[in-house]
Subunit: 574 residues, 2 copies
Amino acid sequence: MRASQYLLSTLKEIPTDTEVVSHQLMLRAGMIRKLASGLYSWLPTGLRVLRKVENIVREEMNNAGALEVAMPVVQPADLWQESGRWVQYGPELLRFTDRGARPFVLGPTHEEVIIDLIRNEINSYKQLPINFYQIQTKFRDEARPRFGVMRSREFMMKDAYSFHINQASLQVTYDAMYQAYNAIFTRMGLAFRVVQADTGSIGGSTSHEFQVLACSGEDDIVFSTTSDYAANIELAEAIAPANVRAMPREDMRLVDTPNICTIDELVAQFSLSVKKTVKTLLVHAREDTGYPLVALIVRGDHQLNTVKAEKLQKVATPLTFASEDEIRLTIGASSGSLGPVNLPFPLVIDRSVAVMSDFVAGANTEGKHFFGINWERNLPLPQVADLRKVVDGDISPDGDGTLQIKRGIEVGHLFQLGTKYSEAMKVTVQREDGRGQKLIMGCYGIGITRVVAAAVEQNHDDQGILWPETLAPFCVAILPINMHKSFRVKEVAEDLYQQLQARSIDVLLDDRKERPGVMFTDMELIGVPHQLVISDRNLDAEAIEYKNRRRGKKEIVPLSTIINFLIREITATQ
Amino acid sequence: MRASQYLLSTLKEIPTDTEVVSHQLMLRAGMIRKLASGLYSWLPTGLRVLRKVENIVREEMNNAGALEVAMPVVQPADLWQESGRWVQYGPELLRFTDRGARPFVLGPTHEEVIIDLIRNEINSYKQLPINFYQIQTKFRDEARPRFGVMRSREFMMKDAYSFHINQASLQVTYDAMYQAYNAIFTRMGLAFRVVQADTGSIGGSTSHEFQVLACSGEDDIVFSTTSDYAANIELAEAIAPANVRAMPREDMRLVDTPNICTIDELVAQFSLSVKKTVKTLLVHAREDTGYPLVALIVRGDHQLNTVKAEKLQKVATPLTFASEDEIRLTIGASSGSLGPVNLPFPLVIDRSVAVMSDFVAGANTEGKHFFGINWERNLPLPQVADLRKVVDGDISPDGDGTLQIKRGIEVGHLFQLGTKYSEAMKVTVQREDGRGQKLIMGCYGIGITRVVAAAVEQNHDDQGILWPETLAPFCVAILPINMHKSFRVKEVAEDLYQQLQARSIDVLLDDRKERPGVMFTDMELIGVPHQLVISDRNLDAEAIEYKNRRRGKKEIVPLSTIINFLIREITATQ
């Protein structure tokens, strides 16, 4: 590609309204442009990377025996009504009617459509197992689209759906997908971790996430310092404390705490350990409990894990917190005064709270706290559950090592869905013994557009992007100095350009009438891994300058050996 | 690919509700499945063909210097309001609101989005010319989706948009696209014609369509028998008749014509030549004419060309016919009684009508016709225009040869849009002299999904599809007879399968436990160009059977030379 016939569209300044470095660099490198909130166009440089991601994914999916298909973006609402997700999915599901007033959705995912497709095509165990995938546009009407293409509304996804006669067969394909994902993200040169994950609204049992490690990640992922244990924080179990509850040493007493609204203020003013305090959170109860609200209690220094809370029988799903108005209406005080004593709702306490003694909590009266509260003395021990997020230093759930928490960007997700969709949509297949059976299903996603952002998030420096070799928009840049004045520079540049093109190497010849400084800055910004600078001065010595974007170091290489030198550099880093 | 791990999903019966053979064969060959009206899923066999089409288009667009981008399917309404098409586009433009009640459309085309994109990126003649393309999902809410993926609502399109400083530059890129399209459809092995076309609602001046010739085509295309002239019938000029109007020979008289409703009935009952009759059609007039309706008159054996009629100044756009109620209200008779004499509306007559004499027309009174009507005697000669569709045998507009009409499927379209969009959306660029200038634009589409249907429409026989080599889902099929019983057959089949795969040849090994008849029928239906039948009988003679799907003929080929034989066959047909 000649830069003069290309659209680099690089930006010097950091664009406003950008929070993460990948969003900034993708804009500055001329990869993407915002069309509207959560909607992005891909410029040529971005598209080149996107296609490389897509091709790696396609090759590995094909290698793993998956069959490519393509399903419509626009899906009839009746399938979503049939699966039950028309009601469950919430406002992220964009709904509309066509010219005939028939209801449709813009597909955020394709379980319903693939089930509808295969229930007409597959009826016997003989056709199983089978695994379909597509690489295609999806739409989720996010409440807060952010971070560029990391969390956009329209995005490209690889989604795969496998079908099986039994759990053993599902496990075989699930393992094959696990290996394929490992191969995909390894080929992309990304630092990633596989973690156990919650299955969430998509349903099913076993699930793993592929997380690219990056400070800007929206997910907390948890590892054992010594074992293989790795999980999304949503799923990570906070195991029961080893210690037993100490005997009460204080009497319970009501203390005036005017102007104290937070636990921080409470511990500061009374010189308490935060581990002697609790947080009481009111959430809506399931209707059949007979109560409007349920109180969930975690230790003052812990955070509620809402995914765990949502699994409690008493709690309405999706989990919603009582509003300040509801709290005032039911207890006559603000949320800062909540506590377990005299609260007219069922309580569920975290395992860590169950072993507390002589602790402090709000008195459900404005400006008062109880001190010296003890379970089974001042109030009965309520239901105990794992309610909190794990924290750095917790014992690993497998008992081996302690936990450490990192930030990750979810780029892939594997689910064992089991029979959830085949039951809802009534899909049976004939077994070998002639009897009918519910189809067993797995599904496997990769966020194609998000992978590009994650790669940038993980690979950049002050000058711009440091593309992994397999994802770079161009593999080599030729930067001729004063090409439009020096015939010799032009001749060598054009000759190298032809030679590299003949070898099918993605090469960008910067033949713009720009100053060298602009050329260098642009190539660093868009992150071309191998750069050849051609100048009269070096040509006088029959040499050219090679720069490796990642190593940074420059080398003077004889012109006669530059092609072989370059090929060695390229293959060494791949 | 092993058939046992693939989804062939062929159908024996011709599916109901299918009008054209491509729709039937694509369903029967397991290429597509209907999800809802105008929405189709692509099964693995169809997807393989679709990807081949896509790759040929991408390669030739890249060769022609176009830059690939990707724009969102979901587009903000304000851009359509800015271009004016929010009002003009009609109900094919699917409109909806997001969760924040903001209006959006599902993109049927991307002129607005690309203009919005480049007006921020391109500001100087130095960046021009430039040509962007994408291969992407589009949606048009067709009133009557039909013929499978030939006219579906969701479809895949390659759309390209080029930008220029002047008309000469546009012409260069337009010509390059013309050549690229020729290369694309030639590589696909399609019989096609390029025709001059109307620019329609998309606007602009020059336009060409690439039409695949097929009886089921929805377009009439017109050729000269001797010259290069070729046009869509919408555009084809019916040149003025060479003869002058004959002198009147009859008096005008009012004749009772009870129970006559059609021209056919009129000519039959009065033994008239149809060439002595006229059709009078009432359409809505433009408001500034001061009349509600305009009468358009063509000869009794001719058809009104609505595209030509729409270009008349007096006629409201889009062209709409007066309803039967409106006609009765304004003239007090039905549409079958319409005629030019005493009609209280402006008349526009076709060139052929202007040379008629002593002709017959309705009297604007129920059950009466005027006979012996003559222009400039019984009524003044009204505006004369080219209003009719050309017919077989008309003189070619270039004066060279006569016209012949064929049916075509439009698979590609080139437009010179000029400044239509840059004016509406106020895009200027700086010229070399420093002054600002409206950007000049071209656009170029290929219906990727429609190409697949057109290829089938043009390439099939009673047994199924006859794929052009470059589009076939598989290049070679290996059909082992009794593979699951004969170790020798299995060994040879597996060995050939490995050898062909190693040569990157798309090969399907039919290792299903099916009878030979089922295997043969399926391979004929999905149209694998080269088929190798492996049987014990032929292996006894160290040979296998080769069948060429298109030639039909079978040959017995020595096993030792089969690979070279096959490679010769494959390269010979490419």
